[in-house]
Amino acid sequence: MRVVVLCSSPYSETGCATTARLAQLGHSPVGAITLPSWDQATLVRKLGQWGLRDSARYAWSKLSPAKTTTPKQTRNPYFETALRQGHNTFRNLHDVAVAHGFPVVVTADQNSQKSIAQMQEWSPDLAIFTGGHILRKPLLEVPRLGVINSHLALLPEIRGMSSPEWSLLCGVPLGVTVHFIDAGIDTGPILLRREFLGAAECGSMLDLRNRMIAYGIELVCEAVAALAVGTISPVPQSDRDRQNQFFVMHERLKTQATCRLKKIGLAAASKFDA
């Protein structure tokens, strides 16, 4: 199975962990296409998402001198296994590429002619999207099977942004869906759809997200393996036109979602005690 990984930045931990984990499981990518590390739009978005302090800490963790005796800490602690190599930790996509021998192409736009031409040259069976721009039809049509994505909620119930938070507030079970990307927002055919059962152990919303992202990478690898041997086939979403797109959640509602998460933990603890 020829696989290409699409990343939002060479420093994207999700991108690095996905490529590293694929390689560990014997599906080393034929190449990776990434947006530049200083893509202005991404930078502005990350500043908005994380705030100045967290963004600065993250930048320092990535850009500080490489040769230290202690391994670098990952932002997502559940990526440790995927990103650890001996005493070192992969700091960026280039590190992973060197270790596993695949090329990395940097492009300012994943939908650009350059990006499409590179994909055509690699002629992949499958592409894995780990972040970046909204993908357009010309790019989506290049891989033989399509482009897959890991979505942090059960589809088709919760589409769009802040999906774990919306799942909690709407009373939809937490879960991860691996699906093909089509022209809509999270409306493509589904490959794998699994409930996430570890919510009770999560100390915070960030912890929940981190665990779900790591779980999503495992599901993506499972889907790739199953597609390679032909034991899985995509199932179109039944209610494609339903208005179940969700958007970035305001912090006042996020507080309520966190409340729900804590209740799940408390309920599990009291059940255990009983």
Binding site: A41, M161, F247, H250, R252, L253, Q256, C259
Partner: protein, 418 residues
Amino acid sequence: MSNFFNRDPRAATDRTSKALTEGAGLLRGPHRIFPLLLKLTSDGLRRQFQQQHLYSYANTTRPTADALRSLIRWILNAQRPDGGIAAFYSLLSGYSPSYPEVTGYIIPTLYDFAHLTDDESALHAAERATRWLLSLQMASGAFPSGLHTREETPSVFNTGQILQGLVRAYAETKDADILARATAAGDWLTKIQQPDGSWSGPAAYQEVAHTYYSMVSWALVLLSEIARDHRYAMAADKNIDWALTRAKSGGWIDGINLRGYPNFLHFIAYVIQGVLECGILRRRSDVIQAASKPAWLLLRRFEITKRLLGTYEPDFSSGRDFTCLTGNAQMACVWSRLFEATGDLRYLNAALKMNEMLKQLLQVRGRRGVVGGLAGSDPIWGAYQPLRYISWGCKFFADALMLEERLTRFVEASECAS
């Protein structure tokens, strides 16, 4: 609102002369030049450097209570000696005279604020405003159009908007005279209603029917409840049924019908708001559904692009690139009420973010008339009420913030209880 400002549809010269008159205000008050230049510069710079992204407006940047207090302070400052509220504060000519229509529907906002914060000054302002409005009522029961002292022709829209204030004033004071005046206004409205449910003719703006008169229907439903007279609700139902015959399959409700002017978001939001409130009060799911279609469409646009355009062509196909802040505040109210009606938290989420966006545009510093106020447009030179801070913008934003406080408390309380 603001029929006055769009008074003559045919003459561009009229608009030019108004602009010149307002511009002449700068000669009478040269001290206004500095705030004007400051605002022009700051809006220009902000537009140049502002970067919106997926996570814009998802965090609280200014406490809601603080923003609400500043808006109400702006409204109280705009109350004229006669008791009416000025339509606007112009950066060129200062405060306008009292405007009956706006004064009417600001009354419920003042009462809501007074109850929320035990603020006596808002209570007194509401009472003064009511007394002033009663002094303007015509023998027919109607209220006049335009700014005070300008016109003595009856106006359907102004009567409806003032009726909202009178109904609330009666609910608060139980003054029989106020109820009698309110029913006189309601009787006049039902009397001149067309057989198809619309209002047209000499008392309608440009003498044609408008779907944004759904706001008049909302006032009639409120009157019907307080006067316990079903006739007013029937008249409102009839008007809403007529308005919904203008609804297109894509959600657009046609019939704003302002000849010579674009469809400002303010008027689009009026249509939706009036229809929705009638649907909620009359418990008509078909009407709520009709209002939710365009509201959802605008919600998606706001969530995806983080802004709404200042005007829209029919079917929301395109529009002009500026922000009609009043329309945005109205949409925050609409989304909040849709959350109440449907329980769909995405509406509340969008309202919270819209409120954040508007909070960031409230003037924190400046002279009286500017500080705490909401401008007509962003940037200030945008096509809707350029170079003005407008009282109805402050009113709708204050309503939106009070809804936010009430609904988030409700969500938090139900979360704790569950």
